[in-house]
């Protein structure tokens, strides 16, 4: 049974061939090895900081590691150069539009990254219904909770935060309610 749960993701991501997944993994693996030393391939440093600021509002770092600590921006940069190349245009146009909105909301500001926390929240709220935001949100969540081999979820911080344990084997009891059932 495949409820629209997965179709919704397909809708925003599109599908890709095996070869490009392999390329993405290979690339991301290198990136993980080199840590932050790796250079961005799609974004320039400015745009990377802008997208990271938005991702950080989607999954903030207030009560534990969020998008920033998970390295979500590295996940997104690689996704746009490997398995999600058809989303490049969404980012290009989206960035242009959000910078325009920023300038009209906060004329004195120089970048999204340099806005205050409250200003960033106000800016994100103004675009939260857009396709651009839905794509950034999807990528941010995938970069937080997807396999670390894609460059995000560094140190498995996303999995740890939600209580998912990355192990090959478990033994019962599995949860609270089956403690006495086995």
């Amino acid at each position: 049974m495949n409820f629209s749960r997965r179709d919704w993701i397909f809708g925003s991501l599109g599908s890709l061939a095996w070869a490009s997944i392999a390329a993405a993994r290979e690339h991301a693996h290198e990136a993980v090895l080199k840590r932050n030393a790796v250079e961005f391939e799609f974004f320039d440093a400015h745009n990377a900081a802008e997208i990271e600021a938005i991702a950080t509002q989607i999954l903030p770092s207030d009560d534990g590691p969020g998008a920033k600590e998970a390295g979500v921006i590295y996940f997104i940069d690689r996704a746009l150069k490997t398995f999600d190349t058809d989303k490049q245009e969404v980012y290009r146009n989206g960035l242009r539009e959000i910078e325009d909105i920023r300038k009209s909301l906060f004329p004195q500001s120089e970048s999204i990254a340099s806005l205050s926390n409250q200003q960033q929240i106000e800016l994100v709220r103004s675009i939260e219904k857009s396709e651009f935001f839905e794509v950034v949100r999807t990528h941010t969540v995938l970069g937080f909770l997807g396999n670390p081999s894609y460059g995000g979820n560094r140190g498995k911080v996303g999995w740890t935060y939600i209580g998912f344990e990355d192990r090959m084997a478990f033994e019962p009891p599995f949860g609270y309610y089956d403690r006495e059932a086995q």
Binding site: R5, D62, D63, N147, I162, G163, E165
Partner: protein, 550 residues
């Protein structure tokens, strides 16, 4: 494991198209009976070492299923609507087929499933009919399947279960928190919960290891060989005979026929997209409920202008859908549903149709784990949850381990205009016509899904759920159970294959997979697909030995 290599120019005894749930069984039965077999599979030949716990690869991306980028699919509700390109249907695309990535639910049909038309009468606007076989005809083959592949469960635990000649070969898997809560509540409601019969090993079996409860079953390949796919159960047996060659990356474009109108083999594209003609004395099509119909329609000739084995005009028609109702709920303490198999308890109390409900239909409700981490955060949360920000993050942190789901597997009526046809405009990456799916729900199926969704809410309430949510009952969803497009019957005017899955029109051509289904039962078609495959193989072996097939 590797088998022999046959020359395409030398006719082999049987050519099997599709190495999935049915094709694997047929290959094993025929090769162990002494026949030479080639199996053509459009996907790759992967093994446990090729799989991983990578949610992005296997759920966000096609992973182990058909990729619409190379094999596009068009969909329309009815013939008056323009088509749109969506992945309306999904199937496993590798050696082992859907049995590699399926959840493992392995239910036999009930006795009534084979003669519901007699029980409930005609339903206007449908092709509702009895099967030409009874449960008793299939029972020995259900048993054979359960023992050959390895199924875990408890005989008799389901009071609605049909009689069986042998118990399950393996005890059930350990219950999860979802199963404990579900069992307690459904008993309180007067229902009859039972341990889920699963094609997953609870103990080591025939050289394969038991499930280690890693939690990655649905959409994933099993890294422990504990899931009882044909890839790890019967296909290795077929190859060990030295008479079965599995040929991956072999995408068939046409079943060939000779001057007598008999099948003479198949033309396929190999891995390098070169055309190869494999000759055979008999052909067995096991490509699934969509691809088998597509291939018959593609195999038209001057002798068979409407497609091969299609004198009835029913090839591709009566497509039945993977129907169901789905709900999730939050509980106070962590369930940790990400550990172990998807399903451990279910009820069949609502399985039988009941005219008092005012519609035809029924269903089975199981307690399950349904969302891996990213999928949960993206599409598994309540509709009224925030979509971003500190509150969103806190909510996924709290909800992920405390959420479980109920899924009601429900009926899909056969309706002739629901169909698989060849798209007149769109081509796939090999230049073959794309599959065009036309499908619109029957009103009874929608009424049934709504009714079952209400039962799920009752069960969740009785379980003490803190919050219940989910999509509406009539939401359109991708179908992964592909049934009805080459239906079985006694009358060649009203069916495509006979009661042993042999086409009425071509005596040495068989079609055996979900396409044979006359009615949908309550989904979970794999056990019945495999029982049909064992039974059809018996018939092929008798026919071949009697010299009837060549």
């Amino acid at each position: 494991m590797s088998g022999p290599k046959f020359q395409p120019s030398e006719p082999i005894d049987f050519l099997v198209i599709g190495a999935g749930a049915a094709g694997g069984v047929v290959a094993k039965e025929l090769s162990t009976a002494g026949f030479n077999v080639v199996v053509l599979e459009q996907g790759p030949y992967l093994h446990e070492g090729d799989y991983s716990h990578d949610e992005i690869k296997y759920t966000v991306q096609p992973g182990l299923t058909n990729d619409p980028k190379v094999q596009p699919i068009t969909y329309r509700k009815n013939e008056n609507e323009p088509v749109k390109m969506i992945k309306a249907i999904e199937y496993g695309r590798q050696v082992g087929g859907g049995s590699v990535h399926f959840t493992g639910n392995y239910w036999r049909f009930h006795e009534s499933d084979f003669h519901e038309r007699s029980l409930f009468g005609d339903i206007p606007g449908t092709a509702f009919a009895d099967w030409p076989i009874s449960y008793a005809d299939l029972e020995p083959y259900y048993t054979k399947a359960e023992y050959d592949i390895g199924v875990s469960g408890i005989a008799g635990a389901n009071p609605f279960e049909a009689p069986r000649s042998k118990p399950y070969p393996l005890p059930p898997l350990p219950v999860k928190s979802s199963g404990v809560l579900f069992e307690r509540a459904t008993k309180k409601l007067g229902l009859h919960p039972f341990p889920a019969p699963m094609a997953i090993l609870s103990q080591p079996y025939r050289g394969r290891s038991a499930c280690v409860h890693c939690g990655f079953c649905e959409s994933f390949g099993c890294e422990m060989r504990a899931k009882s796919s044909t890839l790890v159960s019967v296909i290795p047996v077929a190859e060990s005979t030295g008479r079965c060659e599995i040929r991956p990356h072999s995408y068939v474009r046409k079943i060939a026929t000779d001057e007598r109108g008999r099948a003479s083999g198949a033309i396929y594209f190999d891995a390098n997209r070169r055309e190869v003609f494999q000759r055979a004395k008999a052909v067995v099509l096991c490509a699934n409920g969509v691809e088998s119909a597509k291939l018959l329609l593609l195999s038209k000739s001057s002798r068979f202008p409407e497609g091969l084995a299609n004198s009835s005009g029913l090839v591709g028609k009566n497509l039945m859908w993977d129907n169901g109702s789905f709900a999730s709920a939050l509980f106070e303490h962590p369930l940790n549903e990400f550990k172990s198999v998807q399903v451990t308890r279910l009820v069949h109390d609502y399985y039988s149709a009941d005219p008092k409900r005012g519609f035809y239909g029924g269903g089975a409700i199981d307690a399950r784990f349904d969302f891996y981490p990213a999928g949960f955060a993206l599409v598994g949360m309540p509709d009224d949850a925030p979509k971003w920000g500190a509150d969103y993050k806190k909510m996924i942190g709290k909800y992920f381990t405390r959420t479980m789901s109920l899924l009601a597997h429900s009926t899909s009526l056969p309706v002739e205009k629901n169909s698989v046809t060849l798209d007149p405009d769109l081509k796939d990456a090999w230049g073959l016509p794309a599959v065009r799916v036309t499908f619109e729900q029957h009103p009874d199926d929608i009424a049934n899904m709504k009714w079952l969704l209400a039962r799920e809410h009752e069960i969740f309430e009785a379980m003490g759920a803190k919050k219940i949510w989910g999509p509406p009952a009539d939401v359109f969803t991708t179908s992964r159970h592909l049934m009805g497009t080459c239906r079985m019957g006694l009358d060649p005017k009203k069916s495509v294959v006979n009661s042993h899955s042999r086409t009425h029109d071509v005596p040495n051509l068989f079609v055996v997979d979900g396409s044979n289904f006359v009615t949908s039962a309550r989904q979970q078609p794999t056990a019945t697909i495999q029982a049909l495959a064992y039974r059809a193989a018996d018939y092929m072996i008798r026919g071949a030995k009697a010299g009837e097939l060549s």
